[in-house]
């Protein structure tokens, strides 16, 4: 639409938020017809680096506190980041669970092809924590750079199991099943949100932040499998 006085809000969000934020964006625009919300979904660390290099945007949502901290340290945000949502690991298996995986321990059994995230990325560090606390040592076939790559291996039938976030397993729909496991609670991942210091639209940014942290946000996020604080 080309209303006069169209305003644009730019949101930089972790890639795992793609579906839920797309929907939230639509709802927000419905409430503010003069606002166009632009999303850029990328890995949190890339976004953090871009903000440090002077990227101008209004809102940043990181998939982990670490990358948010980088931006905070660089003086990139106004106010204090708040936790927007949480996410926990689950075991994604191909439909029908051909390898018959029922627990985290099953993943360590020989002959199973298991794919996880690399320790450098948030889902990988969560995996490490679960391994440590449960004492189960995994022998993954691959340590992927992002959680979607893990999921892709599972949906393609190339892995017997993959450790992904609950939200990712959910987004796969029919192509994957989730096997939840209790040890996952040892590594709950938090998604901090903050308004950026150089925000061209600080007012709108605050409104958007309030909106996603409010009831609408909570509803959509939990629909997609996120936990809410």
């Amino acid at each position: 639409g080309s209303q006069p006085q169209q305003r644009t809000l730019t949101v930089l969000a972790a890639a795992s938020l793609t579906e839920s934020f797309d929907e939230l964006g639509k709802r927000f625009t419905a409430e503010h017809p003069d606002v166009h919300v632009q999303f850029d979904y990328q890995g949190s660390s890339t976004l953090a680096e871009q903000i440090k290099q002077g990227r101008r945007a209004d809102v940043f949502v990181s998939a982990d506190p670490k990358n948010m901290d980088k931006v905070v340290t660089a003086g990139g945000v106004t106010g204090k980041p708040e936790t927007l949502a949480t996410n926990v690991l689950t075991i994604a298996v191909p439909p029908g669970n051909p390898a018959g995986i029922k627990s985290f321990r099953d993943l360590a059994a020989p002959g199973r092809t298991v794919v996880v995230c690399a320790p450098q990325v948030p889902c990988g560090s969560a995996t490490r924590e679960v391994e440590k606390s449960s004492g189960v040592q995994l022998h993954p076939a691959s340590e992927e750079n992002d959680v979607k790559s893990v999921l892709r291996k599972v949906t393609a039938g190339e892995a017997d199991a993959g450790l992904v976030y609950v939200t990712d397993a959910k987004s796969a729909g029919q192509k994957a099943q989730a096997v939840d496991f209790p040890e996952a609670q040892q590594a709950v991942n938090a998604y901090p949100i903050a308004t950026l210091k150089d925000a061209p639209e600080p007012q709108l940014a605050a409104e958007f932040e309030a909106f996603v942290r409010g009831p609408a946000g909570r509803e959509v996020l939990s629909q997609h499998g996120f936990g809410t604080p």
Partner: protein
């Protein structure tokens, strides 16, 4: 041509054709129109073709002279320059994007100056073009330089004896003789620009209509819907094929 060579040639073709054809059998034809005609896909297509053409043109205008310098002059340290030109080839594109960001970002030496002048390059369509130019340039330079080395020199001399200055000889003799190589180099350059992902997403970000080219859109789509990503790849492939099949015959297959 030795007959034996048909076997490896067929195998080479298979290496390319089998995976690609397998891929496209997976696309659900019923969903195809919806996937391809979505505003996101069309915006991405438009942006990709536009930036791809602009950056190919940039590579042409800047790269041809560089190839000439490399092939025709005897400056000290030419070998080092030649190696440097190849760097974007081996640099992972993401690192290339970081490099551009460090140079032209607000805190970068050049970006800082531009910022004062009120010009901001990162996260604009110009940044997409720059990323693509950066990664695609070596394709043009290397391809042309080889061709320039094998042919041309003697004909340029003939042109000089007919009174043609360097510029005329270049336009009327060197360029036409170079056309086949230029054609294939341009195809490679354009293809590389069209497929560019890592440097673009790092340096230009990924905003629909401004910086989200087809590969970026495919990547974004792949996060949620692999089928959509594959369908969009199909779009990219078709665009590339059209460009190649339509543009190439004259430049490349035309007998010289």
């Amino acid at each position: 041509m030795p007959r034996v060579l048909w076997a490896p040639a067929a195998l080479a073709l298979a290496v390319v054709v089998l995976p690609v054809s397998g891929l496209f059998t997976r696309v659900d034809p019923a969903r195809l129109p919806t996937l391809l005609l979505s505003p996101a896909a069309l915006d991405a297509l438009r942006l990709s073709v536009y930036t791809g053409l602009v950056s190919t043109a940039l590579c042409l205008v800047l790269g041809v002279p560089l190839a000439l310098v490399l092939a025709r002059t005897r400056v000290r340290g030419l070998r080092v320059i030649r190696a440097v030109v190849l760097l974007p080839l081996v640099l992972p594109p993401v690192v290339g994007g970081l490099a551009l960001l460090y140079l032209l970002g607000r805190t970068g030496p050049v970006g800082g100056l531009l910022d004062v002048a009120g010009i901001r390059v990162p996260y604009t369509t110009a940044a997409v073009v720059l990323s693509q130019t950066f990664v695609a340039m070596p394709f043009l330079v290397v391809g042309l330089e080889g061709a320039l080395r094998t042919a041309g020199g003697r004909y340029e001399q003939v042109a000089a004896t007919l009174g043609a200055g360097p510029w005329l000889a270049f336009r009327r003799v060197t360029v036409p003789l170079l056309l086949p190589a230029l054609g294939s180099s341009l195809v490679l350059t354009f293809a590389r620009a069209l497929g560019e992902f890592g440097a673009t997403i790092t340096f230009a970000g990924s905003l629909q209509g401004t910086t989200r080219t087809l590969p970026l859109a495919i990547y974004t789509a792949a996060e949620s819907d692999v089928d959509a990503a594959v369908a969009m790849s199909l779009l990219l492939v078709v665009v590339a094929l059209v460009v190649i099949v339509v543009a190439r015959p004259r430049a490349v297959e035309g007998q010289l």
